[in-house]
């Protein structure tokens, strides 16, 4: 059940859905078989925590290791989880049969009618959706579950060919055909829904905050430096990460990540470059191993003498947790994290405005990008 996920992206949609159905059926069969043999039913899945992620040399991303968790009906929580799995599987089967899909939020509300199996929060239902992916190696899109639109966007010299309603294709240029908020990244960015054309941008700058994204767009950083700007909108959604990865893999665009200078932003970078702990089962599909962290680094805070805030208790705890996170286990990160702990300060991206509105595009980014070898 917990075999390493095979990439089934190549298979066509109907086929993938059938595979997903079979996997769900297998879980139901296992539970049923246990019950009829008087064995307390249980399923196993890889532990989804920081302690169980290992570096996958082949894909150069972090994935779940060999440690397994058992969800057993011996405990009330485990039994509820199994019961919900049954209900959710049944619901997914129904959606596949009727060619419908639902948002994660809708799925949470659908569970209202599941009596004992109903979820108490959307976190619970989201988590179970992910658990199902981990157990079956199918992806939630194959389960007909999709996230809410999250509004992440891209601006740059490239065209997207998207499949719109009635299976029509439409081509948009991500500078000329979009407003100043850019092209909104849809939740499904698979090749059958979205293709790239005339990709003329040289590299990708992924930006954490909307404020900084708007600043770079207004300052025409994309046209002046021939790059694509992607708004991550905090912790990036799967589709945003997938889109970045496709630009990187299919069009060889280097990726740099530009965030605030605090521990939470380091994690945003890690989920883009290394793979997030929550989605480590599909890291090779979402993560861009060659993505580089540009800033704001703790060193930047010192070097550029940026306005700062004091670290909160949670910030310090998060930094300390990162010191034992295998993804940050290299000299550079250790140095930066320890530096930040030492100075006990953090800065936002927009703190660069201390030196004027153009400082970021005229000075900071060119300096940093040159340093990283992306600009000459």
């Amino acid at each position: 059940m917990a075999a390493a996920p095979k990439t089934k992206r190549s298979a066509d949609k109907a086929e993938r859905e059938q595979v997903a159905l079979k996997s769900l059926q297998a879980i139901a069969t296992q539970v049923y078989t246990h019950l009829s043999k008087a064995v307390i039913p249980e399923v196993q899945l890889p532990s989804r925590n920081k302690g169980n992620i290992v570096f996958d040399e082949k894909h150069r991303v972090w994935k779940y290791g060999a440690e397994m968790t058992t969800r057993s009906a011996k405990s009330v929580d485990g039994a509820y989880m199994l019961l919900r799995t049954m209900y959710l599987s049944d619901f997914i089967k129904e959606m596949i049969d009727q060619n419908k899909s639902s948002t994660l939020r809708e799925m949470y509300y659908i569970s209202e009618g599941w009596d004992l199996a109903k979820f108490h929060s959307q976190d619970e239902s989201d988590l179970l959706g992910e658990d199902l992916e981990v157990m079956t190696t199918s992806m939630r899109e194959d389960f007909k579950l999709r996230p809410e639109e999250n509004g992440a966007a891209i601006v740059g010299d490239l065209k997207v060919v998207e499949t719109i309603r009635n299976n029509q294709k439409r081509t948009l240029h991500c500078q000329d055909d979009v407003g100043e908020t850019g092209y909104h990244i849809p939740y499904n960015v698979e090749p059958d829904r979205l293709a790239f054309k005339d990709v003329k941008a040289d590299f990708v700058v992924a930006i954490e905050t909307g404020g900084m994204f708007a600043r770079l767009v207004e300052n025409e950083f994309d046209t002046k430096n021939n790059c694509a700007l992607v708004h991550l909108k905090g912790q990036p959604a799967r589709c945003t990460r997938r889109l970045i990865k496709r630009l990187n893999e299919e069009h060889d665009l280097p990726v740099v990540v530009f965030t605030d200078g605090d521990p939470w932003s380091f994690r945003i970078f890690a989920s883009v470059a290394y793979g997030a702990i929550k989605t480590a089962h599909i890291s090779e599909y979402l993560a861009t191993p060659t993505a580089q962290f540009m800033g704001i680094t703790p060193s930047d805070i010192v070097n550029y003498d940026l306005p700062t805030d004091k670290l909160s208790e949670q910030d310090v705890d998060a930094l300390k947790a990162e010191l034992v996170d295998p993804r940050f286990d290299d000299d550079w990160w250790r140095g930066e994290i320890n530096l930040q702990l030492e100075m006990n300060k953090k800065s936002e991206q927009q703190a660069l405005a201390k030196y004027g509105l153009n400082f970021v595009t005229d000075t900071y980014l060119p300096e940093k990008l040159t340093e990283m070898g992306i600009l000459k």
Binding site: Q25, Y32, L35, A73, K74, V76, A79, L83, L116, A117
Partner: protein, 716 residues
């Protein structure tokens, strides 16, 4: 100046005499030195007697009057029925209080002494457990009324059928400490066969809350379960605090002073009044616990000849007093005490805490003990749960000789000792393991003694004596252990009942759903249920009570009651008999055989023959206990039910293997997985509610796999 005068008068040296002195200044001073009567002294120091505030004055007045009524009823073997009325008057700061009892009444010639004279009473010289002692109480109320409102009290008393009810207005001459009576008359409206009524108008204030007249009566009712109080408050609300037993407490007996509790002055006075000619006779007859052997040892220790006690000099008396401490003397007798008893405290607590519907009540009566030559006994109770506030400090109900103590809680031995117990280990919150515990609980501490060491004359707090604190602590700890056990049991139940949800609700759903998804039949779950539960589940008993109207049941006489002596040393378990079914069932210990055997026994074949029996009207309790084996294998074990000592076994299905005074024991034959068994037993001679919270025990099975019963730690 006043201080000097007081000291002089209270010295007990009689009238201060102006001595012929050389210092003229003393002569001048002497002119201002005059007698102050006891009454005048108290007039100026009313806080000593508990009249410091108008709110407190009301409670003190009610307390003094009810104390007298209860004591009088007890001494005459009457079930007290006391009416307490508080009326508004024309003046906002004055209240009229009437307390009327159905006691023996007071003869006319004594009315004045009792109500109109301080320090007069029958109990001051007697060494026995009683509420009032100094003879100050009720006359102080009369005095207080007279001082604050100018009204005389009105006393009415009838001493029996054929005697008239005498009504008299009562005042107190403070200079002479003498009663002043006016308008003596017959009260034609009096209807009770006997009783006393006092009406006083005092400066007082009525209010609610913890230190209120209402709470005082509620508390009084808890520790006087044989009394009925009817309270009419000034707003016209009438509350009846009903009695929970019809038994008048055993009459307390008077004892002689014990040498350890006797002061030098007292020895001198006793020696002066002695009727005996010899010291040995004086010692053995006037003191408790002194035999002729001990008396001789005392004399030898004191280096005294066996002289006439009247010839004892102060110096010799002093040697005698010192010898008391050195010679080993037996503890004073303790049968003079009258504890309320675990069962009655419990019922009193239950009745008066009904509004918070507590989940658990436990009570402990400690064996009698001795402090400074005075016998005493401690009783403790804990009320837990219900709607009691969980975030607040626990409430302590303090009592001394069946009287609630409402004030000066901080310095009281009871409070101090509560704070000294580490309550955390028994399931209450307590910061740092000492101080006041927090939690949904009420604690009760009752100290009964021939002499309660109060911190002041107002009798508001018990002085922290080491011996008393030790006993209170032991009592609290024992009761706390009961609470701890209850909470542990409850926690275990909660954990297991979660599993019940699992096996009874979630798993069947899981089976149904997975079967439906696969189009297969729903699998049978009984084995899995046992695998997950892995316990033998014993439910709380379901009890029905039937009052045996007009009937009596045979009740075994207890050793303690048969001989009115010290606590019975060895409680012999009488009436043990093997179930007749047991022998037949031998060799085929199956449930069926067990049940069959049980059926053969006639259900109500009366009480087993017991050596001593007495007739007693009581309830018949029929209790059913259901148990289920939720374990993988067959389970057999021994099951014990503790029954009240006063009860008598009637019948049981199936037949128990052993029937003892204190418990019944069944051999439960192997129960198959998911098999259920219901035990039913009937006992008579119990109080209503008496077997609601019986303790159950098991033996011969791993206790970790049993929910609802504790492991048996051996019999009596």
């Amino acid at each position: 100046m006043a201080g000097v005068a007081k000291a002089t008068t209270l010295d007990g040296a009689g009238e201060p005499k102006a001595k012929k002195g050389k210092a003229p200044i003393a002569e001048t001073l002497a002119l201002a030195q005059k007698e102050i009567s006891v009454a005048e002294f108290f007039e100026r120091n009313r806080q000593i007697l508990g009249f410091d505030s108008p709110v407190k004055a009301l409670i003190t007045a009610i307390k003094e009057a009810t104390d007298n009524s209860l004591d009088a009823c007890e001494e005459s073997g009457i079930l007290p029925d006391i009416l307490i009325e508080v009326h508004k008057t024309a003046h906002a700061d004055e209240l009229r209080i009437c307390v009327e009892d159905n006691g023996p009444g007071i003869v006319k010639r004594q009315l004045g002494n009792i109500f109109g004279r301080l320090l007069y009473g029958s109990r001051f010289h007697a060494i026995r457990q009683s509420r009032g002692q100094q003879g100050i109480g009720i006359s102080a109320v009369v005095l207080y009324g007279q001082l604050t409102t100018g009204h005389h009290a009105v006393v009415t008393s009838k001493i029996g059928v054929g005697h008239p009810a005498v009504r008299v207005e009562m005042g107190l001459n403070t200079k002479k400490n003498e009663p002043e009576m006016f308008n003596e008359a017959m009260d034609e409206s009096w209807t009770k066969p006997s009783g006393t009524r006092i009406e006083v108008t005092i400066k007082a204030k009525f209010q609610g809350g913890r230190q209120s007249a209402f709470e005082f009566l509620r508390s009084t009712s808890i520790v006087n379960p044989h009394a009925r109080f009817t309270f009419l408050d000034p707003t016209g609300v009438k509350t009846v605090f009903e009695r929970v037993t019809d038994e008048v407490p055993a009459k307390t007996t008077e004892i002689k002073p014990h040498p350890h509790g006797t002061e030098l002055g007292t020895i001198l006075k006793m020696a002066r009044d002695a009727k005996q000619r010899k010291l040995t006779g004086f010692l053995t007859e006037e003191f408790s616990s002194v035999g002729s052997d001990t008396a001789r040892k005392i004399l030898s220790e004191a280096k005294l000849e066996n002289v006439d006690p009247k010839d004892l000099s102060r110096e010799e008396a002093r040697r005698l007093h010192e010898a008391f401490a050195k010679v080993k003397i037996m503890a004073p007798p303790t049968d003079c005490l009258s504890p309320i008893g675990e069962q009655l405290v419990r019922r009193g607590l239950k009745k008066e805490t009904e509004d918070v519907s507590p989940e658990f009540i436990t009570t402990v009566t400690r064996p009698p003990s001795v402090w400074g030559g005075h016998p005493f006994q401690v009783e403790v109770g804990i009320v837990y749960g219900g709607t009691l506030p969980a975030e607040e400090q626990v409430r302590i109900l303090r009592f001394a000789n069946r009287v609630p103590l409402l004030y000066q809680g901080g310095g009281c031995a009871s409070t101090v000792t509560v704070q000294d117990v580490d309550w955390r280990r028994y399931g209450l919150d307590q910061r740092g393991g000492n101080g006041m515990p927090t939690g949904p609980a009420i604690l009760l501490v009752h100290v009964a003694s021939t002499k309660v060491p109060f911190t002041s004359e107002a009798k508001e707090a018990i002085a922290p004596m080491e011996e008393i604190q030790k006993e209170v602590k032991l009592g609290l700890q024992e009761a706390a252990r009961h609470l701890g056990r209850h909470l542990a049991k409850k926690a275990k139940r909660a954990k297991v009942s979660e599993k019940f949800t699992l096996v009874n609700k979630i798993l069947p759903e899981l089976a149904k759903k997975s079967a439906a998804m696969l189009g297969k039949p729903t699998p049978d779950l009984s084995t899995i249920v046992c695998k997950i539960m892995d316990v033998v589940w014993i439910e709380d008993p379901i009890v029905a009570y039937e009052k045996l109207e007009g009937q009596t049941v045979m009740v075994r006489k207890k050793a303690e009651k048969a001989e009115a002596g010290a606590p019975a040393p060895g409680k012999e378990a009488k009436g043990e008999k093997d179930a007749k079914g047991d022998k037949k069932a031998k060799g085929k210990a199956t449930l069926e055989a067990f049940a069959e055997a049980a059926l053969e026994t006639a259900p109500a074949d009366g009480a087993p023959a017991a050596p001593e029996v007495q007739q007693k009207p009581a309830h018949l309790a029929k209790s059913t206990i259901t148990m289920t084996n939720y374990m993988m294998g067959s389970k057999k074990f021994r099951f014990f039910v503790v029954v009240p000592e006063t009860s008598v076994f009637v019948s049981a299905t199936p037949e128990p293997k052993t029937v003892k005074d204190r418990y019944l024991m069944w051999e439960i034959p192997a129960m198959k997985p998911t098999e259920k068994l219901a035990l039913t037993y009937q006992v008579a001679g119990v109080e209503k509610g008496g077997v609601d919270d019986v303790e159950t025990f098991v033996e011969g099975i791993n206790e970790l796999h049993v929910v609802g019963a504790d492991p048996w730690r051996g019999g009596e």
